[in-house]
């Protein structure tokens, strides 16, 4: 979906770039759009015309799994060019998003402390251990990751992330990057008409771009949002306040929170699960079971599992694992999700895995309708995994 005309929605915490900083960010976005539109399609052509025949000829059978494709595809010159350009586009994107933040960080921090009317709240926990699965590498190539603070009360990781997500999604998640949250809400409205949650939790909220839609849709609900990283929740809280939204942010780990048993009607997460670990994801789902009221529902949005995918598509979706600093991506896409839920106490009959249309999808015909490395908002739909208690 070409959203070239769409710019990011301004809010009180979004850093204002200079003329040239903005031009650099727009180049980063155009570069990504160019890769998706012009370079990426050629990878499929190279596969169909060159690589698949070679695999069939060399191994005696057509490729079935992504692992059949990988050793051959990684040697294809067009794949190499696409990959190299895509990785470089990531680095250019993060650098472009950093510039205005770095220039005026003290100003941004000052701004984050000014809440003329604190509708929501912010609770930090300096004693919280930062999980190793988020520090082994800097996730999705953001320099410093979610956690690195260079000044006290730092918000830089949040400010950089907020802008970078918009560039990364090329506007396809909407002006406020809210598509994932909105898509879950629309899916819930269709599947559970009349659902009125009184208490909602967003796990791994980052800057709150997915959180805000819930409080907009259900303004009477108590909205809680957690993230392990203090600079993220600091920024998220200030962002929500500047938008006039009532959200209670706290620095917590979704593997074990301080909320009461049986206290939430709705627990959601948005592209969180692939950024955890084998052990952590089990703890998170178990924590969801503990926290949900009977009849409550958890919905976790992600990109779809590899099972059942065409070998080439699965291979391409796997790109992020090695090439975009997402070490848990592969494993998270190959989990037995039903078992994950039932091991945590959910009834297998109440577990679901469904596809939800993107709330911002416009011209269906123009979209590739495939998740691909680098076209994060490009699938036209989100994979939803969850269960009712």
């Amino acid at each position: 979906m070409d959203m070239t005309g769409l710019e990011q929605g301004a809010h009180g915490m979004l850093p204002e770039p200079t003329h040239d900083e903005l031009a650099r960010q727009q180049f980063a976005r155009s570069f990504k759009e160019h890769i998706v539109a012009k370079i990426h399609p050629g990878v499929r052509v190279a596969y169909d015309k060159r690589v698949q025949p070679e695999i069939t000829k060399t191994t005696g059978k057509a490729p079935v799994l992504r692992t059949d494709v990988e050793p051959f595809m990684t040697k294809d010159p067009h794949y190499q060019m696409w990959s190299s350009l895509l990785r470089t586009s990531q680095e250019i994107m993060w650098s472009a998003a950093q510039k205005p933040v770095e220039r005026d960080l003290d100003g941004l921090i000052e701004c984050s402390k000014k809440n003329t009317s604190a509708k929501g709240s912010l609770t930090l926990d300096p004693t919280l251990d930062f999980p190793r699965y988020l520090t082994a590498v800097d996730i999705h190539c953001q320099p410093g990751g979610y956690h690195t603070e260079v000044m006290s009360d730092d918000v830089a990781p949040g400010a950089v992330y907020d802008r970078a997500v918009f560039i990364y999604a090329m506007g396809q998640m909407g002006p406020d990057n809210s598509d994932i949250g909105r898509s879950i809400i629309e899916w819930l409205e269709e599947k559970r008409p009349g659902f009125e949650p009184a208490k909602i939790l967003d796990m791994g909220c980052a800057v709150g771009h997915s959180t805000v839609p819930y409080t907009e849709r259900w303004p009477q609900a108590e909205m809680q949002a957690i993230d392990v990283a203090s600079p993220m929740v600091r920024y998220a809280h200030a962002r929500a306040e500047s938008m006039g939204k009532t959200i209670h942010y706290s620095q917590q780990n979704a593997e074990g929170t301080n909320f009461e048993d049986n206290s939430f009607d709705l627990i959601v997460s948005h592209i969180l699960l692939h950024e955890t670990s084998q052990k952590a994801i089990k703890n998170i789902i178990a924590e969801c079971h503990r926290l949900l009221k009977p009849g409550g529902i958890m919905v976790h949005a992600e990109t779809p599992p590899y099972a059942g995918m065409d070998a080439f598509d699965a291979f391409m979706l796997d790109w992020d694992t090695i090439n975009n600093n997402e070490p848990f991506w592969r494993r998270s896409h190959e989990l037995d999700l039903k078992k994950l839920a039932t091991d945590s106490g959910f009834d297998p009959e109440k577990e679901f895995e469904e596809m939800a249309s993107s709330a911002f999808q416009v011209a269906k015909a123009k979209r590739s309708n495939k998740f691909q490395g680098g076209d994060f908002g490009g699938g036209g739909f989100w994979f939803l995994y969850g269960a009712e208690k």
């Binding site: 040239d20 060019m81 990959s83 993060w94 320099p143």
Partner: protein
């Protein structure tokens, strides 16, 4: 320049390389960095043209209808050749080396040159 501390430049984690020769990946990254700078400059020029037009100084039509005279055309052609020469120097300097200079009487490799200067007898 602000007094703020810098943000981290590089993401922690081994950087993958895709071509057989990782230097190709590096060159590609440098090339796209340069493309970014050209893009920024072009956008700034565009802003200048818009402001000039708003203030009645000159506009895009003036730019389109500007007719450089023969002297300006020649200057531009010369400047382009100089620019291209700067960019492609590495390509023809290798050939210059092969051809040698007319005044050179001796062929020598770099190793031979070092050997020459290191010998006590010369």
């Amino acid at each position: 320049m602000s007094d703020n501390p810098s943000l981290p430049r590089k993401a922690k984690g081994e950087r993958p390389f895709f071509f057989d020769d990782p230097d190709v990946d590096k060159l590609l990254a440098m090339l796209m960095g340069l493309a970014g700078e050209v893009s920024v400059m072009r956008d700034r020029m565009d802003t200048i043209e818009h402001i000039a037009a708003e203030r009645g100084l000159f506009n895009a039509t003036d730019i389109e209808s500007f007719e450089p005279n023969a002297e300006v055309m020649q200057q531009r052609a010369d400047r382009r050749q100089e620019m291209l020469g700067e960019i492609t120097r590495i390509v023809y300097s290798e050939i210059e080396g092969l051809e040698g200079r007319p005044e050179d009487k001796h062929e020598s490799s770099y190793a031979e040159a070092m050997s020459l200067v290191e010998q006590d007898s010369k």
